[in-house]
């Protein structure tokens, strides 16, 4: 009976994690869309949603601590719960980055972009799909899925380098756009950080399944 109860609580924990992940994914997409469309209202909603993410983080943290205290899980069960604790920290940081991007939207709301945003939305699309894949890997307890997801970080890094070069070029050609270009550089950096956090989650999933903590080479 006790094991059954523990199993049920693990399932609930996973569902909450998936909900939190879905919210963070939405936030990231919405933040970048608010930027491309220069939609301040949408940006403010992203910023407001950060409180929901924080509340979910605290709720999941409480669930994990309760499971640790009352069920005292061992071995794989212990790794599952401790991995959940690590994942929520990464998700919360990602949400902070989405908020940072939304704040850039508010700064640039009345500006015309010197060059249309192409690579930044693509980076965001990749990074948010990494978030989803990372959480799927957690739920499926799949090292293969985690490793496949981690490889996408390379694509994000390449795009980041391209964005960086482009923006430097734009700022050289249009000195009046240095302010805008710097903000957009920050945005690209925030998205790159989101992908790094997704990579962390993938590495924790591999630890959860194998019991070995190591950085994945990719």
């Amino acid at each position: 009976m006790i094991r059954q109860d523990f199993g049920d609580q693990l399932v609930e924990l996973e569902q909450e994690l998936l909900r939190m992940g879905a919210l963070v994914e939405d936030q990231l997409r919405a933040a970048v869309r608010s930027l491309t469309e220069r939609n301040s209202q949408a940006a403010r909603e992203v910023i407001d949603d950060d409180d929901r993410v924080d509340a979910m983080e605290m709720d999941i943290e409480r669930r994990c601590l309760t499971l640790l205290a009352l069920q005292q899980p061992l071995a794989r069960d212990l790794r599952i719960v401790s991995t959940a604790l690590k994942i929520i920290t990464d998700l919360e940081r990602m949400a902070d980055h989405a908020t940072d991007i939304a704040r850039v939207t508010l700064v640039l709301e009345n500006q015309v972009f010197v060059k249309p945003l192409v690579d930044i939305p693509e980076m965001a699309r990749l990074a948010s799909s990494m978030v989803r894949l990372a959480l799927n890997a957690y739920v499926h307890r799949s090292t293969d899925e985690a490793a496949t997801m981690i490889r996408l970080d390379d694509d994000v890094d390449h795009l980041y380098s391209a964005v960086f070069r482009d923006l430097i070029e734009v700022m050289r050609e249009h000195p009046q756009a240095v302010d805008q270009g710097t903000h957009l550089l920050f945005v690209a950096n925030y998205i790159e950080r989101v992908a790094d956090h997704a990579t962390n989650i993938g590495e924790w999933v591999i630890f959860m399944v194998t019991g070995e903590r190591k950085e994945v080479e990719y």
């Binding site: 006790i2 523990f6 061992l74 071995a75 069960d77 212990l78 790794r79 019991g211 070995e212």
Partner: protein, 253 residues
Amino acid sequence: MMAPTVRCDQLSVWYGRHPALKSVSLSVQAGEVLALIGPSGCGKSTLLRAINRLLDEVAHIRIAGNVWVDDEDIYQKGVDVTTLRRRVGMVFQTPNPFPFTIFNNVAYGLRLTGKRTQSELRRVVEASLTKAALWDEVRGKLARPALSLSGGQQQRLCIARALAVEPTVLLMDEPTASLDPLSTARIEDLMGQLKGQYTIMMVTHNLRQAARVADRTAFFAKGELVEVGLTRQIFTAPSDRRTEEYLTGRYES
């Protein structure tokens, strides 16, 4: 690394035709606490009993392989079992003090050796009770019956009785199974103090106790030693699927 105090080499035990231990090879280092865990009937208590030859009197028993304690092959002919049991003390699940005074319980084994003066007895009794973390509670009450002590105190008295004859190894068979959480915590603290001076092998069904107390943990199933390793490793990331299933409550024997 120091030489092992206890070493089993391909130790097998049968009760009649039933194999209770299957070719177990295991070394226990001097001064370490080794926990033996596993489902009921897995052979862990049989192993413990094999180490001070408590199985000798069991009907239809057959033992194969070797056990060394302090470099002595204890199943060789001519081994003095009484001397062996002085070197290898045993503490059981239920405290079993003799129906004597507290003093006489601890002095019992010393008197068996015959040649102790009263003052020497007093010195060893005090030292043993101190080591067993009971002295402060019983000083001035040594003439009282041992059975007047609480369960937790009785268990520490039994540990003092075992320590009095200067063993090198302590075998503990679920030493806190009948104790409340406070007495359990005192015994666990005591094991922490005794380790280093004594080699301790403990059978326990309390996994958290093994996790708290033991340097290394050995998991047994169906008479086999499945794996042995650092407690930290076994309880967070065991290498065998059966250990994983047992620790997460999913093992089916």
